[in-house]
Symmetry: D2
Subunit: 274 residues, 4 copies
């Protein structure tokens, strides 16, 4: 279905594309790390997480202010107050801010605070949202839907590009399979496939994919080894008290350890930490 005329296709634009978020380069031979809590919960929590992220050498802070939860009775995020805290933390620690936008109507508001829009897996085919972020020039992190084929995912990226915004970073976050021991099955073979089909950068989310802290570290290392342009990982200053997905969040110590592993591993595959 995707053709060579697609703006996001490698055939249309053979060289690797790069996306710049608050001065940090994503794409090419760079490995970027985005880290932070699943959900913004309090000023104290965001600042502690941001401090850890910055200290370990990562350049982008992730965190959810609007959380699309399966149950309507689960914590739904702090909303605009959460965005304000993320912005404050980003400014204080000189980190780019990546946060989810759930609906086309939220694009202007989220755009005021964020350096990069995140489009979640459940919204990968929310066409109006894709078009709305496509009309801005702000970078977009586009997660793969949990049962989207690689081709459908690239078609969603093309919806953004077709509106004029090619500042798109793809993110593999696990697909739905029959295996119950991990929350999703992280499809790392998607990375070389994607890189052959498109020149957009592609990163990996080992936290949502596995759902267990113990599996985040090995899968993060594997993601770097397979040639991903980076990682987005959940880090929480005290995972045991997290309001959302605490079981998969790395501690700040784990995270420092992970950054060191990435620094060692990236050069073996011809990459370097951004």
């Amino acid at each position: 279905m995707m053709t060579e005329s697609y703006k996001v296709s490698r055939a249309h634009h053979p060289e690797d594309r790069t996306v710049i978020v608050r001065g940090t380069v994503i794409g090419g031979d760079r490995v970027v790390v985005m880290a932070g809590p699943c959900a913004v919960e309090s000023r104290e929590q965001v600042m502690a997480a941001a401090e850890s992220v910055s200290r370990s050498g990562a350049k982008l802070l992730r965190g959810g202010a609007f959380k699309p939860r399966t149950s309507p009775y689960a914590f739904q995020g702090m909303g605009e107050e959460g965005l304000r805290l993320l912005r404050e933390a980003g400014d204080r620690f000189n980190l780019g801010v990546v946060t989810e936008v759930m609906d086309a109507s939220q694009v202007p508001m989220v755009g005021e605070y964020a350096d990069m829009f995140q489009i979640g897996a459940r919204n990968m085919q929310n066409i109006n949202l894709l078009r709305a972020v496509g009309k801005t020039q702000k970078p977009v992190l586009l997660k793969r839907g949990m049962s989207a084929t690689i081709e459908e995912w690239l078609c969603s990226a093309e919806y953004i590009a077709a509106e004029g915004n090619v500042n798109i970073v793809l993110c593999e976050r696990g697909i739905r399979t029959f295996e119950p021991m991990t929350r999703y099955t992280l499809d790392l073979s998607a990375i070389p496939v994607v890189r052959s089909m498109t020149s957009l950068p592609v990163i990996v989310d080992p936290s949502h994919a596995t759902g267990s802290r113990a599996y985040v570290m090995p899968m993060a290392r594997a993601a770097v080894a397979v040639g991903a342009n980076g990682l987005i990982v959940e880090v929480h200053p005290s995972p045991e008290t997290a309001l959302c997905d605490g079981s998969q969040a790395l501690t700040t110590d784990d995270f420092e350890h992970l950054m060191n592993d990435i620094r060692s591993m990236a050069p073996i595959v011809g990459m370097r930490l951004s």
Copy 2:
């Protein structure tokens, strides 16, 4: 995750719920048929389809004015003009109108024309959209996401119910599996499972699930036999010229044949055509 306190749960409301769309009852022992073209293409096409739907004894007209297509370069629907044509056809042939709403911001406009909102599989977890239709009292047809578990699907229904609108009809439309001979795998076992978990009506879409006209008829019969509260099927006056999904649309003759089969089969499972 779903508990007995959920408004949509059978435990919370043991009797079958019914939803009324322009005077037609959906739920309980009724089998309702919603039919029409995938996409509204022209005044002539909608009127011909509506005439066939009405003549064969169905009560609801389906048709898409806004089409969420995988590719940004595919036909995206006629927009508000399509809604106007659907309304006109519904009024002329005394059919309730069911049409997709793709975004929370569209709810007021689509609500002006439609008798029932359809939420597509790709939007099953578009939380803002679920909340927006939940704030109306208009009936909602909620399709199952292509990789949503039954429990996640019911949680999405609860997002609507939690806002005050329990006029919800569920629709199984096939799940994504490894089998390539059909577009999706129609999960008919979901029908008895859903009916044990919730008192909401549940219907089946054999057209999108199979993707082939030849398989629509047998799967429609099976859906009635398994106890579904109805069907939504694609009918097109000339499928070979359809702008969208022509290969799965029934001809008007096929459709008449199908309605007759349903009339024979429903009583065997204690149901009757609505």
Copy 3:
């Protein structure tokens, strides 16, 4: 991969093939019912099950003497003594005996007692076993592997046919998907697909697919409505004491009820009970 030269293809042999098991015709416009316990447990149990099967009008007795269980520490079946009991019950109640053969070396022994070999889902691509039953002329019931595509399934049938035995009946028994509410997802759309690709008969196993007694009846009715050539269902005189899969076995009363439903439903789709 499958071509028109395959013996099992509809292109090669356009008319429906029929298979005769102890005088009972399977295929064409006939709906056959095979019923009995998951595993043979005792003389008393097999005789009670066979009596119920016969009294309700079914013609074939199923039961496992060799059980391929996931765990090595689960009940593995009675072995040859179980085969002897099945044969005795079949002879007493004039029922054909269908039972699983797990290995090529067992073919002669199982063939002494059974009227039809069953090849289980886990053995669908056990090539040596396929060839071994292909060298006999005894009817074979070939279950679909839990993750086999329809084409792979037909290729397995061709392994049998290539050796000279075309007395093959296919059996859809559910495929593995992400949905946890049923044990497998019964792929009823496979029935019309299979019937278009091959002239072999195809039946449905709603017991293993759903794993729950409550879902067996509606799925059995749906299987008849979709055009299957029959059913294989588990019936146990006292399911609560069953050594294997009791939760999915019908009681003898349920079974009688089911046979009556099938008698009513088959004529609507142009079929009749064999």
Copy 4:
């Protein structure tokens, strides 16, 4: 289902188990590489492959003499003559020989030639075969079924162990999902999961999983990074003429390159080449 009393469980035997094949240690902190052609085709081909495997520093030669193909009309392998050639090549280049056994009755014959039995994905639940290799003391490479859960896979290993043979190496080779761009989806998260549940070694087959030479190298690197105990890869002296799966075979040059990558990467995760 699996309990702490299972011989293969980590709870039962907390320390890593090692398996020795012709003097080469598999397990613990070792990364072993098994390489060779998909199928043995001729003396010349096996010798050329074995020479390359040996020269690049791998210790085990893989190759199929009996090939379980989907179609009965595809090349089925050279049979015992193929085993003889593998043995000759293994002896000449001092490589352990790993080859598939398809049926319990073949165990004695294959055992005469092979240093390690391979049980293929399609036979993971061939109970009689599992028991037959369990009655020997020869090492067994047990591939995961294409739709087997991790727990079912370990239960199959327990069938072997229950007979007295714990010389078992597990092999992840891709699971069946909806994604069509790779033949299977390599489930690398299975590696840390398996290592937490069992003390058996586990290796990865990137060749069958991806089905494309271009993806074998990155996935092989990722497998080492995630902590696998080794790899099994297809190498062919002239892939373009291969009778089986040529599109996924590495050339001998690619393979040498891969061995060098593994030597660099293993120490970063605390491992070393065996």
